[in-house]
């Protein structure tokens, strides 16, 4: 599959009164057309900030994108999102790239009808008239599984349940036929049964509309049935990226091992204790000169305290940023 988005060496910092927060420290990855890439990590690992940076949604000040590239491909042409003007970026946002946010309760404007909130995107990007936008909005509401869409068009967010509001958010995200939908923890705030419905809806929409999805989450459990590839982030850096099955089968980064260990497994024969990862995530106020996971890593050795591991190929279609070779059980030599 051809690449649609390519991010190279992205660095984002926040200049606050308490000091400089090193939120994203050289993140690189790519996204292929029509695939689902899950970005997994603890809160503060930089997963949301990475995506917000790419689309100019970082509040600035205090946020500042220090360096990097983010190429959006259109056939053979590519354009760097980080070099675009605000006006150009606004064309992309909502047009080619849609968003779904975590909390559907607070993510919709309480004083505007949901119809209005979907339709305004259509008017903005597709240049539809109000009537056309209205008709299209009702189709979209139907598409995301909201019953009686004609009547619901005029309703306000507080008249919907949490799950239904998230469907409205999804309708906003897919309204203008985007190539990429970025879903930032879209199921975290919902009940478990509703979560499953929303995941299913995403899969159905992807099949019908063919967009690529970036699914940001801290929950590896959701990822297995959903993603094609997984990107694990830690301390504002990429720890490991791999196809989803390979990652579950054979994690190559000690942090991923920890994440999987923290996961209850239904398919496992022997009853295992849930393992939690010891220690706390790194303080992003301190610029690091060594592996950010070294404090919590049981395999850490001298080199891990001396330099920062970079992302290196490790098997087919996968990369890892670690000096220790988990497979062979000894430090990597390269």
């Amino acid at each position: 599959m051809p690449t649609i988005l390519e991010v190279n060496n992205l660095v984002t910092r926040f200049y606050t009164l308490d000091g400089v927060v090193h939120a994203v420290n050289g993140v690189s990855f790519h996204l292929e057309e029509g695939e689902t890439l899950a970005i997994v990590g603890e809160s503060g690992s930089g997963k949301s900030v990475t995506m917000m940076s790419i689309l100019g949604l970082i509040p600035s000040p205090p946020g500042k994108i220090e360096s990097g590239e983010a190429y959006l491909y259109d056939g053979y042409e590519r354009r760097d999102l980080l070099k675009m003007s605000d006006a150009e970026l606004r064309e992309i946002r909502g047009g080619q790239i849609g968003f779904v946010f975590q909390d559907p309760i607070s993510s919709l404007n309480p004083v505007l009808t949901i119809g209005e909130q979907i339709a305004e995107s259509l008017v903005r990007h597709l240049g539809l008239s109000r009537e056309e936008a209205r008709d299209r909005t009702i189709e979209l509401l139907d598409l995301v599984g909201i019953p009686d869409p004609k009547a619901r068009y005029r309703n306000y967010p507080h008249q919907f349940s949490g799950g239904m509001r998230q469907r409205v958010m999804i309708a906003i995200a897919i309204a203008c036929g985007p190539k990429i939908v970025i879903a930032d923890e879209p199921t975290t705030a919902l009940d478990v049964t509703i979560q499953a419905q929303i995941v299913e809806l995403f899969l159905r929409l992807q099949k019908e509309l063919g967009m690529a999805i970036i699914w940001i989450t801290h929950d590896l459990a959701v990822v297995s049935g959903l993603a094609d590839r997984v990107l694990v982030m830690y301390g504002g850096r990429v720890a490991e990226v791999a196809p989803v099955d390979d990652l579950y089968e054979q994690p190559r980064h000690p942090y991923t091992v920890g994440l999987l260990g923290a996961l209850p497994r239904l398919d496992s024969r022997e009853s295992r204790r849930l393992v939690s990862i010891q220690g706390a995530p790194p303080d992003l106020l301190i610029p690091l000169k060594h592996c950010p996971f070294a404090w919590r890593c049981e395999y850490a050795f001298d080199r891990c305290w001396e330099e920062i591991p970079t992302l290196q190929p490790a098997g087919l279609n996968r990369k890892v940023a670690c000096f220790y070779d988990l497979e062979r059980g000894k430090p990597r030599h390269d």
């Binding site: 009164l17 301190i286 404090w295 890593c297 850490a300």
Partner: protein, 306 residues
């Protein structure tokens, strides 16, 4: 397991210089400059009230008709022995301003003390007991709060007559509903939050719950409110004085000075100007202080400081 370094050790990598620390404190003071300024202004007023006799060059009541309506020192006809000039009876305006702090602060302090204690008791009872008691207390509170406040204060002051005690009582009683409302709101919020419940289940008695758990949480919002309300009372006391409804006319208060100065507004404008500036100075200081306290003491606002 390689436990070679800890988080604290790696802090050594980034050494803090004196310049860094100075910059940090500088930022801290600059961020809170409003509060610092307000506190200084308030302290000036408190200082004047405590040391009035030492600060003021004259007895504030001493008349001297020969030197009446003398302009401030920087006017051509002014003299430095009466820096702010004299009033229609030749009394030294500076000394009267200094002594005026005593009336204003007395009214403000005792008014807020009474209002705060009454309100605290009413609000705590309403919030803690709830039910019928709550609806009766809050009914009265809402009645008073929905009235045109100034009109009723003027009305009561006119009925009761001019005296310091009356003024303090009027403000203390009419202002207590605001404290009651805030107290009740906090008590309800604290009751609903888990920790009072867990204290109850751990076997704490209710006086213990109130003194150990609820009161400490109430102090922040109440101190903030008290600052604003004290400023408001100083304001209203002067207003009543201006209408001739506050302390007796012989007492040097800013309101009385304004009322007297109003008659000589065009010929000797300084008589009314200085007490007004004094009220403004006090009120400005307390409002700055209150804004700052609200930011610092209110836990719900702490995160959203702008």
């Amino acid at each position: 397991m390689v436990a070679r370094e800890t988080t604290a050790d790696s802090l050594l990598d980034v050494e803090q210089t004196w310049a860094d620390r100075l910059a940090y404190w500088g930022r801290f003071w600059w961020r809170d400059r409003g509060g610092v300024l307000g506190m200084l202004m308030f302290l000036v007023v408190v200082f004047s009230a405590i040391f009035s006799p030492a600060i003021s060059p004259y007895d504030p009541l001493q008349q001297n008709l020969r030197d009446s309506k003398m302009p401030p020192a920087w006017y051509e006809e002014g003299r430095w022995d009466h820096p702010f000039g004299t009033d229609n009876l030749g009394r030294d305006i500076f000394s009267r301003i200094v002594y005026g702090t005593r009336v204003s602060l007395t009214v403000g302090f005792f008014g807020v003390l009474i209002a705060g204690m009454l309100g605290l008791v009413m609000g705590a009872i309403a919030g803690y007991i709830g039910g019928r008691v709550d609806s009766i207390i809050m009914g009265v509170v809402n009645l008073v709060l929905s009235l045109p406040y100034l009109l009723f204060v003027v009305f009561i002051a006119a009925v009761l007559g001019r005296s310091l005690i009356n003024v303090i009582l009027i403000f203390g009683i009419t202002d207590s509903p605001i404290f009651a409302r805030v107290t009740r709101g906090e008590v309800l919020r604290l009751r609903e939050s888990g920790f009072v419940e867990s204290a109850v289940s751990a076997g704490a008695t209710w006086p213990r719950i109130i003194f150990d758990h609820i009161l400490p949480n109430l102090i922040g919002p109440l101190i903030t409110l008290a600052t604003f309300e004290m400023s408001r009372m100083i304001f209203y006391e002067a207003g009543l004085g201006f209408l001739g409804l506050s302390v007796p006319p012989t007492v040097p208060s800013w309101g009385n000075m304004l009322a007297a100065g109003r008659k000589y507004l065009t010929s000797s404008p300084w008589i009314a100007t200085f007490p007004g500036l004094a009220i403004m100075f006090t009120s400005l200081g307390m409002n700055l202080l209150g804004d700052w306290l609200r930011d610092v003491l209110d836990p719900r606002l702490r995160r959203t400081r702008k």
